[in-house]
Symmetry: C2
Subunit: 285 residues, 2 copies
Amino acid sequence: MTRIVHVNGDELAEDQAKVSVFDRGFLMADGVYEVTSVLGGKLVDFPGHLARLGRSLGALKIANPHTDEEWLAIHRRMVESNGIDEGLVYLQVTRGNPGDRDFAWVEGVAPTVVLFTQSKPGLADSPQARDGIRVIMLPDLRWRRRDIKTVQLLAPSLAKMEAKAQGADDAWLIEEGVITEGTSNNAWIVKDGRIVTRGLSTDILHGITRAAVMRLAAEAQMTVEERGFTPEEARAADEAFVTSASAFVMPVVEIDGARLGDGRPGPVARRLREIYLEDARASAL
Amino acid sequence: MTRIVHVNGDELAEDQAKVSVFDRGFLMADGVYEVTSVLGGKLVDFPGHLARLGRSLGALKIANPHTDEEWLAIHRRMVESNGIDEGLVYLQVTRGNPGDRDFAWVEGVAPTVVLFTQSKPGLADSPQARDGIRVIMLPDLRWRRRDIKTVQLLAPSLAKMEAKAQGADDAWLIEEGVITEGTSNNAWIVKDGRIVTRGLSTDILHGITRAAVMRLAAEAQMTVEERGFTPEEARAADEAFVTSASAFVMPVVEIDGARLGDGRPGPVARRLREIYLEDARASAL
C-alpha cells in the first residue's frame, strides 16, 4: 500500500511526493519539523507540538503557513487517509523555494509544507519498552541552538549509527563532561528515588513528552531535579530512561556496557510510562 | 531562459528538477556539496574540489557515485548546456532516498546527485572586489565538524542575514574569543607585512581557495602565519580579506564598523587576488 503524502496542500502518492532541488530545506537544512504520535487514531500531545512548531518557526523567522485549526485538520486528514491507528505523523516546514541558492534568504517566499505518516502497530506496547534499551556515550557535535527543532540532523544520525555499530540501541551525548540528551530524546536517570533530567536551555530540545512527564511525575508526588548529570552518575544510577514523542517513556537498562540494577526496566520508568500513556490517550485529539 | 539542472543523470528544466521528500538531504541534511567557479568557460581549482568532495563523502560514509573523470564530464556538460562563461557550478550529493525516515540509515541506497549553474558575468571583476566588503563579528553556532562540507547551513545563513540587518556584508564567526572563519569563506588579516589565517582543524572548512592562496603567497615570498586571531587583532589589522571559491580573494575594508587603514582594499589583498585569478585561469579545466 502506498502512503498518501501531503505536499503544499496536495495529497500525493508517496512516489510522487517531491520538492524542488532549490528548496532551502534541501540546499541549506533551512526547515523545522515535528513528529506527533498517534494512539487509537488520535493525535498525542498535539497542542504542545503545535506550540513548539510555532517557536521553531519564529526563531528562524519563517512565517507559520497555517493556523492551529488548519494544522489539526491537515494532521487528522493524514491519519484518516493513511488509516493510522498507532504510528506517527511527521511534519516539516521549510523556508521554501526562492528559485535560486543564496545564503541570504528573500522575504515573501511561501514555506514548503510536507507531512507523511508512519504506521507502527504495537507502538504503545513495544518489545523495546518491555526489555529496555542500551545506550553508549558519544561527544555532542551538534550546533548551539538545539532548542530549535531543525532538520540539521547529521550529528544525531551519525551518533545513532555509531551506537548501533557498537552493539547498542542509542547514544547519550556528552558536552563539557555532562550529558545533554539522547540522539532524538531527552535523557533521565533515577537515583535513591530522585529523578534527574537536564534543565531547559538552548543546549537541549524542549521535549513535549519531557514536559508531560515532568507534570505527571509531580502529580504522582515524585521528585524531579532539573540539572545536568555526568556519565559517572548515569552508570551508577538505579535506573534510567529516555522520553520522546515516538518512544514515550523508554527504559534504559544498560549504559556503556554496564547494567543498571538487575538489567530490567526499573519501577519508576515503568510507572511513568504507564501514567504517561494513560494521560496521552485521554488527552489525544 | 530556464536553466538545465542535473538530477541523477537526467538533465531537466529547472522547474522540473525535484527530489523525493524522503531524500535524506531534505529530511536530515544528510548531504555534502561543492561550489566550483567558472572563468572563461572553464572550471577553477577543480581537482581540489573533487578531492574535498571525496573527503566529505568519506567522512559521512556515503559512496562517491562517480569517478573523477565522470564528475569532470558532468561539470563540463553543465557549463556547456547553460552557456556559462563566468559563474558557478553547484554540486550536491546526498545519502539518497531510502523510502522512509529513520535516524539510522540503510546501506545500499543510491546517493542523490544534483548539479546546477549560476551565471555571474563580471564575477572576476566585481564592484565588491574593487570597493571591499564590511564584516561584523557574531558567535559561531555551527556543529563541530566544519571540515565536512555539509548542507547544514542554517547557522551561516542566519549569521549572513544578521550581518545584512546590521548594514554589513558578511559576518566573521567567533568561538572561545577567536575567529574561526566567515559564514562561507576563510578569514585573513594582514599586520606589519605578516598574513594571518586560522590553521586547519575540524573547526573550519578547508578552503580550496585558501590552499591556493597559501601556496601563491609562499611563492611570492609573503609570510603567512596559520593561527587563530582575535576580534581585537582583526580591528587593529592593516588590512583583511576573505577567500572562497566564489569570491576568490575579497578585500575586507571595515570590521565591526571600524575602517581598516584608509578604508580601501589593501595592497596585499589586491596583489593576492591578482595572482590568484591569474593562476586560476591558467589552471582551469
